[in-house]
């Protein structure tokens, strides 16, 4: 495992001092080729500043998930560049990307976030387990406390409610103290009240824990909880709104809908 330890150190040392968050430069992703080619992302340049909550808004098929996956190193871009905490993802080997995901990126999906046969506690520490490390106990306890999960840790993931499962997923994303958390429609499967609760926890991850969050959504109310909203349409950045209100977001969406 000496090799692995070496690779791990190199990933961490790549990070320029102090630089966190993530950004993309002219990111393009084309699925398929020839007649059936789909240009899911077309020259997308966005900034996910450290310790901020950024929302990606757009209609179905706009390219939100594709942006999340390329930025998180789950999928490779066709062209353009992605930086996470100052490290460029392009050219990293599968192993290096895997280590980077495990140590510097947090992920929350819309559903199927947890290994059903494991307990909530084991799911939370999964990335660390895979790295063969133990959690920093203070940080772990803080995350669990802030997300209100103290009395759920021993439950099997399959038995958690939708909202609880998303909070456990968020805790897993935060436990490594990542450079950024990517959340793809984390409230998409929840009712509005539970969804609002999860949004509150995402907010607290930024405000109380000093973390960085990027969230894809097509719900204007959810987007309004962010510090900045980036609007995507047909794979391009159509607009950027700072300190949004739900009404503003809705207006922008209407404009976009009218245009396309």
């Amino acid at each position: 495992m000496g090799n692995a330890a070496e690779a791990r150190r190199s990933v961490l040392e790549d990070r320029p001092a102090g630089e966190r968050g993530a950004r993309t430069v002219e990111l393009t992703k084309v699925y398929g080729s020839g007649d059936t080619a789909v240009r899911a992302l077309d020259g997308v340049t966005v900034e996910f500043p450290a310790e901020r909550f950024t929302a990606i808004m757009g209609q179905s098929g706009a390219g939100k998930s594709t942006l999340m996956h390329c930025a998180a190193g789950l999928d490779t871009a066709t062209s353009g560049r992605v930086f996470v905490g100052g490290t460029e993802l392009g050219g990293l080997s599968d192993r290096a990307l895997t280590r980077l995901r495990r140590e510097r990126i947090g992920l929350v999906f819309q559903a199927f976030n947890l290994v059903p046969t494991m307990t909530a506690a084991d799911n939370i520490t999964l990335p660390l387990t895979l790295a063969g490390r133990r959690p920093d106990p203070e940080w772990h306890d803080l995350v669990v406390r802030v997300l209100g999960l103290g009395n759920r840790l021993r439950h099997r993931a399959a038995r958690l409610s939708g909202g609880q499962a998303q909070r456990v997923a968020l805790a897993r994303a935060l436990v490594t103290r990542p450079d950024i958390v990517f959340a793809d429609e984390p409230t998409g499967d929840l009712d509005s009240r539970t969804g609002a609760e999860v949004l509150t926890f995402l907010r607290r991850a930024v405000d109380d824990l000093g973390q960085t969050v990027a969230m894809a959504t097509h719900d204007p109310v959810a987007a309004a909880r962010a510090d900045t909203v980036v609007f995507l349409a047909d794979g391009r950045v159509a607009d950027v709104v700072r300190h949004p209100t739900a009404a503003e977001v809705l207006d922008h969406m209407r404009d976009l809908g009218g245009r396309s």
Partner: protein, 504 residues
């Protein structure tokens, strides 16, 4: 409706192939063994051949149980997807009966198709063996009873496997129900009793019935045993600080039924192979090892399972044409075989004199030792061919169950990859799972085979022998089967893309 059902069957042909293969292999083994048994019995000129025929028939009957549960497992591994599909059909208005009919059509197609192919394969294999080993002058004896029994076993195994999973929506994941453990434990206790009784009281039928019940009980208890095996392997993994091992064994011990499918398939094959070796080597030992070399060129008086009165041996010994007699005594105080060394150079003289003496004692056969030895060799050839077949049929069952387990967990594996499992870790996880399967399947199968082998040899009054070399070969074959099964499954698992998880 029929068109729809057949269309569904066609659409699912991938999953169906596993079911079909399980039925085919099982029916082939059963029918082949029964046909060979009948062949020995039909051509029986001696008590020995009759006894060997009976042993083969017992093997064929015992094989019904492993067939039933490999077919069950082949069906159960895809249960989760089936249940989801049935739920969807029900939601759009299909009645319970229609969903059931759909499953029944699918099971019938696999059951009938697999059975027909299996019968052809079994009779074909038996005929080939008969030719190669030159068992009788008349060729194989194929009886209607054999065909009906093997066909019934194949079709009903498929139907029994299919119906409950779909109708009740049984889940592939999850724990083990208490009822299952209770029924399994009670059945197991009764079965062990029957086997021990059969072995001690020399009643092969009782031992066979007990063996069949015992296999059924093991199938029920398999997941429980697997949970212990997984816990053990997990403890080793923790010791070695192998994260993938810990994850794999955790998963296996928390949803043991998933992995139990592969382990029971392996256990069935290893158990059958062990039983066959034990029986073959015990037979060889009883017939050859105790016999002084000086009897080899002589005559054999063979009373078969029922034996003959020892007074006959005394009378034979008193004949002027006879130099010496060696008896093999049964527990009832009768002789099963007497080896005779004729005096001088006129064995034919001795043979006719003995035949005259033997008539009032139930006319045991009198043959030259070489003819007798040829019977034994032919039988051992058959047993080792079956042994190879049992191991060969184990491989696809085990491999299929492991591979399907990986496919069913594609999403979970994708998720692990997303949160930072390397390809190597995913591969290692599947390998650890295979290791657990290999350990529990081989150990369970060997224990089962040794125990039933002890009973069957006891029932036929032969000394119990556990031959180390063939048994080591069996264990190695089990390990090799798992390794061969695990490597492709692990490779496939590590190639699963992360989007398999992300895009739900």
């Amino acid at each position: 409706m029929i068109r729809l059902a057949l269309g569904t069957v066609w659409a699912r042909r991938g999953g169906l192939a596993g079911l079909l293969a399980a039925v085919f292999l099982g029916v082939m083994f059963i029918s082949g063994t029964l046909v060979l048994g009948d062949t020995f019995e039909a051509g029986a000129e001696s008590g020995l051949a009759r006894e060997l025929g009976t042993a083969l028939e017992v093997f064929g009957l015992v094989a019904v149980v492993p067939t039933a549960f490999t077919v069950h497992n082949a069906f159960a591994v895809t249960a989760a997807r089936r249940v989801r599909e049935s739920a969807l059909l029900r939601a759009v208005g299909a009645s319970r009966a229609q969903v059931g009919a759909l499953a029944a059509v699918e099971a019938l197609v696999a059951g009938v198709g697999g059975t027909l192919a299996g019968l052809a394969g079994g009779v074909g294999c038996a005929a080939m063996l008969e030719r190669v080993l030159d068992l009788t002058a008349r060729g194989v004896a194929v009886t209607g009873g054999t065909l009906v029994l093997a066909a019934l076993a194949g079709v009903s195994a498929a139907l029994a496997a299919a119906l409950p999973t779909v109708l009740r929506g049984a889940d592939g994941e999850g724990g083990v129900s208490e009822a299952r453990v209770l029924v399994g434990a009670a059945g197991g206790a009764v079965a062990v009793g029957a086997v021990v009784w059969g072995g001690l009281a020399a009643t092969p039928a009782m031992a066979a019935a007990g063996a069949i019940m015992l296999l059924g009980a093991m199938a029920l208890l398999g997941p429980v045993a697997l949970r212990s095996a997984a816990a053990l392997a997990g403890a080793v993994a923790v010791r070695l600080r192998r994260t993938p091992g810990v994850l794999a064994c955790d998963g296996a011990s928390r949803s043991p039924r998933r992995t139990a499918g592969a382990a029971t398939a392996l256990m069935a094959g290893i158990g059958m192979a062990t039983l066959l070796t034990v029986y073959a080597e015990s037979l060889r030992a009883s017939l050859e090892d105790g016999l002084p070399g000086s009897f080899r060129g002589g005559l054999v008086v063979d009373g078969g399972t029922s034996g003959f009165d020892p007074r006959l041996a005394a009378e034979i010994a008193a004949l002027p044409q006879v130099e010496a007699v060696a008896e093999v005594r049964t527990r009832q105080g009768r002789d099963s075989v007497a080896f005779v060394r004729p005096a001088g150079a006129a064995p034919d003289d001795a043979a006719s004199a003995i035949a005259v003496l033997a008539r009032p004692y139930g006319a045991p056969t009198v043959r030259e030792h070489s003819a007798y030895a040829a019977d034994v060799d032919a039988f051992l050839g058959v047993v080792y061919a079956l042994f190879a077949l049992a191991l060969a049929t184990t491989l696809p069952g085990t491999a299929g169950a492991l591979a399907l387990g990986v496919r069913e967990r594609a999403r979970e594996i994708g998720l692990l990859r997303a949160v930072g499992a390397t390809r190597a870790q995913v591969r290692a996880m599947v390998r650890w799972e295979a290791l657990t399967v290999a350990l529990s399947g081989t150990a369970g199968g060997a224990a089962l085979g040794l125990f039933t082998g002890w009973a069957l040899t006891g029932a036929q009054e032969r000394p119990f022998t556990a031959p180390p070399v063939p048994l080591a070969a069996v264990a190695l074959a089990g390990a090799a089967a798992c390794a061969a099964a695990a490597l492709p499954a692990a490779r496939r698992a590590s190639r699963l893309t992360i989007r398999d998880a992300a895009s739900g």
